[in-house]
Symmetry: C2
Amino acid sequence: MAATIRDVATAAGVSQSTVSRALSMPDLVNPATRARVLAAARRLGYQPNRAARGLITGRTGNLGLIVPDLSNPFFSSVVKGVQAAARAADYSLFIADTDEEATAEVELLLALTRQVDGIVLCSPRTPDAELARVGVESAVVLMNRRIEGRPSVTVDNADGMRQAVEHLAALGHERIAYVAGPRTSWSNGQREQGLHRSAEDTGTDLVHLGHFPPRFEGGVAAADLALASGATAVIAYNDVVALGLLSRLGARGVSVPDQISVLGCDDISMSAMTHPALTTVSIPKREAGRAGVALLLSLLADTAAAAEGAPAPHRELHAQLIVRATTGVAPHPDRRTAGGHSTKGTTR
Amino acid sequence: MAATIRDVATAAGVSQSTVSRALSMPDLVNPATRARVLAAARRLGYQPNRAARGLITGRTGNLGLIVPDLSNPFFSSVVKGVQAAARAADYSLFIADTDEEATAEVELLLALTRQVDGIVLCSPRTPDAELARVGVESAVVLMNRRIEGRPSVTVDNADGMRQAVEHLAALGHERIAYVAGPRTSWSNGQREQGLHRSAEDTGTDLVHLGHFPPRFEGGVAAADLALASGATAVIAYNDVVALGLLSRLGARGVSVPDQISVLGCDDISMSAMTHPALTTVSIPKREAGRAGVALLLSLLADTAAAAEGAPAPHRELHAQLIVRATTGVAPHPDRRTAGGHSTKGTTR
DNA sequence: AATCGGTTTGCAAAGGATTGCAACATCCCG
DNA sequence: CGGGATGTTGCAATCCTTTGCAAACCGATT
């Protein structure tokens, strides 16, 4: 069927080795010969057989990506970044979705490892200890999760939250509710810490509202709690949750931002388009994806350095508050109603 | 590093061939031997090298999936269905996103074909003629696109639209606008045809509003045209567009469904959660994904039949109207304002 | 005891590309 | 003109599995 390297060799009147070299180590063959080989290869539509190459090089030319939920717009953006970077480097990409199930992560990791050179593990929900225990042959880059001694790409969530809190404080808000995401989310932990510190620094009250699934319905469920908490502003774990909040608030006839301000995180594309448009802490999703692949490729390039216990590379991206229309000056104090438990400047 | 079949053979005291057979053609080896082999394999953590196997069998054990836009919730649901089915059949899945660019489709198709046994091509934007010209070695199943002689999975869009129009007609609507999706979308064409016919059958006016990108902003842009058209109900190409419509209508202070009814298509998860919840034509997305893989696998199972010009298998799924809160009885005639061009019972 | 049918097993040949090593050619310098 | 350095090319081994074919083995029949 498909042309093999032998066919090209015959057509060009050289040996297989010369063809191989002409294609992958161009400066080792005579320019004239190379031209002949390239011409023959093109004419025959030759494309090296990946399996055969992989067999001898031990490399697959594939990368893997594991995400908690493809239908979460945050992750689909990350996927796009990973995809673009992988394609640019001539790698193919296996994508797997764990449906937010922690057990599936390890399973997929093990299943994938044999077929890829490296894996980007995005926002893993598996506990540190267990994750550390899993030994995989392929290089693994963590995303949105920091574990000592492991390469990773993260976002400065704490700083993002600081920007958010300072913005709200400047608008006169003195009591802010946080709608927490999954307990197993590292990013959520980082955000809580950042909020905690910033609340202390700015002298604002922080109300912590339970853990909610990072989906629209999570926000819907949290809205009533947020209202009852007496907070004049709500920061949501992510934009999807924030949209859920807005929806429920709208349904209850609560005006945003006049009666309550809402602030999201991630900056998914829909956030800019709702009415009113959502104020949010923007995270460079595509960039994170690209950075993850870049890190992975650098790891693959010198496995030597990796084995030698060079410090695990780490890349931290910046988060940026984007002020749109769901945040405004705090309503006059006597408009607020009390309720919800709170502690001055603490997360719980 | 990893154990090879030789290691297992040595450990079990048999030849490589016996190991191979014990694992993949169990009834060809003596039960006692098989047990010994299996034990050794497990002990050594042996897993066959996919590249080596692929080299000789000519199969990769991989499937490919090409979709226009991963961040469109419709497609991420399809992806989940495909993913689940592929995993269940012990295939790995390459996923590629074309960013709604038709040229990328053929490119990806060609790049992927060498590394997979089969490809699900979802909602391709490439014209029929060009698509027919591309010869790929791997089996290809079309999804949301019907081309004579090619295996495909589709949804009965026309029937879905019929349900939508009949629902609106029953509510007293006499003038319905359709916000069209991409010109290159086959589904969009099917929906237009279905609408056309149903409009004639029910004797309602149909206003065709240009082609819009199948995204939120498409709906935002279309909303003003819809209002100006004098229609009392709008059917959107898909839910995302419908959400855009709702957003803009809300911003303009138009009440849904009192002043105008809105109807989407796809039934993405967010549609059930907006306020008011979106009436929509539900499409079995996951099921479509599963069906695509099933078709692909059946094709792979008997390539003989395929070569013999057996009729290309086709599977058509049913669409189902889900009435929620964005459709209501038509406003009293004199409330309406004229405008927009229309033709009784036609699509253009 | 030789033969036969049926299982079970091993040998060895693919499959397509990469790569260490050796061979050869060429050229410069002494 | 010989020797060494440099630049090109080919040979052949290697990666790990699968599989056609033949050998070995078994009990049973003639």
